[in-house]
Amino acid sequence: MSETVLDVRDLEAGYEPGVPIVRGASITVSKGEIVVVLGPNGAGKSSLIKAIAGLVPITGGTVRLDGKDITAAPAHTMVRLGLAFVPQTENIFPLMSVEDNLKVACGILERRETPARIEEMYAAFPDLARQRRTVAGNLSGGQRQMLAVARALIVHPKVLVLDEPSAGLSPKFVAMVFDMLAGIRKSGVTILLVEQNAKAALAIGDRAYVLVEGKDRHEGVASELWNDPVVAELYLGQRRQASEKGSAA
């Protein structure tokens, strides 16, 4: 097995003491992988990755990044440690220009490196290059996601963590976002992703976990999980029946 980048063991986390939302979840992400976390609503998927990113208090277990214990690291130190997080909503600064949104995220880069790194992002996301002076709040939903991802990638993260990147987007943009993630993985970036849109996420993912009631209940190869009866029972059942009916019709 290839080298582990992110290693989450028996994680317990929650906003209030004594009320854990994440209850002993364990996941690992290896270098170059896309790992997907699936699960029914309220399973604690978002809380799990927010806890990993230092945004939800952790009450038990460990998070290791490249072997280094980052369980207690404050959220603002995560980019320096190599973990870049893209929240589900409000993931850009709406009153700043596209360019300033990128610049403000470059705090940990060498000052001389910043302009070249911003140009690299524009080369990777030509849509953003065309709108560099646009106030970010005026971007379309898909372009906002693009900016949020570019902002996270700009600091050369060891792992890119995304909370439901397709949420709230129109189908056209959903496809665009998943294409973008597949492209990012090709460039060598490791990705951990929480998604409601299981089918699309499994299509680009390598491995997936199913989280139920704050605990990882099942793990498998992404392409096989879609037809895995255990997964169907845990979570996917009704949804898959619905989508098969839909495609048959």
């Binding site: 997080f85 705090g107 902002r151």
Partner: protein, 302 residues
């Protein structure tokens, strides 16, 4: 109508505007109305006065720089005073506001700032008495500049100083990483942390800038009018009106708001009488809140 009110208005407006920058920054970044901001002004002024007195005692009397009423000691003292006021703001945050902020209820922090305001003011009265004092008792001759307007060299120098400071703060906010971090924090505090911004250090910078500018505004009042423990408290309403008129979080907005209120006050004094001066900022504040609550440069949140 006598156009003299324009100069008076711009000067009052500069004092209000410099103070309002601090108000608008603390409001947008720390998310509370700091009622002690006016008292930072008064403390800065008295600190500057004390440094001027100390240099006078150490080096003897130094002549003012020709046509101005003040010399190098005041300029040096102002810089020291700005630093002291910035530190005072930091200290107050450390002792009081940061602890209350951690508990998460904005209204408690606001009330605490009201208490801090009273305590700071009383302390000034205790140390310096409430008798008005002055940087200089020399009388300056105002020069006619046409259109019936007269202006003193001090007034010209202070207007220029205001312009330089405002430009400097604006460049800091828009062109530097520190400024972008401050904007980021005011727009989305959680995301600011995610992109690696150390909130505590941005908060410190905010207090230092706000305190230092309050000190300059206070010293302007001290040079042009007089120094009293209540001098800053009396500026509180105009400063908040200016910050809200300009749009919370906007530095140019705060300054423009200050100038508008300063001009309106000076105009009102001429047209309807000096007793209405204080009402002007209140009326403008009410009008803005009714007509355009986000202010001139403000943006509606989502």
């Amino acid at each position: 109508m006598n156009l003299q009110f324009v100069v008076d208005g711009l000067l009052t407006g500069s004092m209000i505007g410099l103070g309002a920058i601090g108000v608008t920054l603390t409001y947008s970044i720390l998310r509370f109305s700091n009622f002690a901001h006016g008292d930072f002004m008064a403390w800065g002024t008295y600190a500057t006065l004390a440094v001027v007195g100390a240099t006078g005692a150490m080096f003897g009397k130094i002549a003012p720089i020709a046509p101005l009423s003040f010399g190098w000691p005041l300029i040096v003292a102002l810089i020291i005073g700005m630093a002291i006021t910035g530190l005072l703001a930091l200290l107050l945050d450390f002792v009081l506001f940061a602890r209350l902020r951690a508990k998460g209820q904005a209204i408690i922090v606001v009330m605490a700032s009201f208490g801090a305001s009273m305590a700071l003011r009383s302390l000034l009265e205790f140390i310096f008495t409430s008798r008005p004092t002055y940087f200089s008792r020399a009388i300056q001759i105002a020069m006619p500049v046409g259109f019936g307007i007269r202006i003193t060299p001090d007034q010209i120098a202070l207007l220029l100083l205001t312009a330089v400071l405002v430009l400097g703060v604006h460049l800091l906010m828009t062109r530097t990483q520190t400024g972008r971090s401050m904007q980021a924090l005011s727009q989305n505090a959680a995301l600011a942390r995610i992109v690696g911004i150390d909130v505590a250090s941005v908060v410190r910078v905010t207090w230092i800038i706000g305190g230092a500018l309050a000190c300059v505004a206070g010293v302007m009042i001290g040079i042009l009018i007089q120094i009293r423990p209540f001098m800053g408290f009396d500026m509180l309403l105009p400063m908040f009106a200016a910050a809200i008129l300009g749009g919370i979080g906007s530095v140019p907005g705060a300054v423009l708001g200050g100038l508008i209120i300063g001009l309106a006050e000076a105009g009102a004094v001429q047209l309807i009488g000096a007793e209405w001066r204080a009402a002007v900022s209140f009326i403008i504040l009410m009008a803005v809140l009714f007509v355009r609550p986000v202010g001139l440069f403000g943006v509606r949140e989502r």
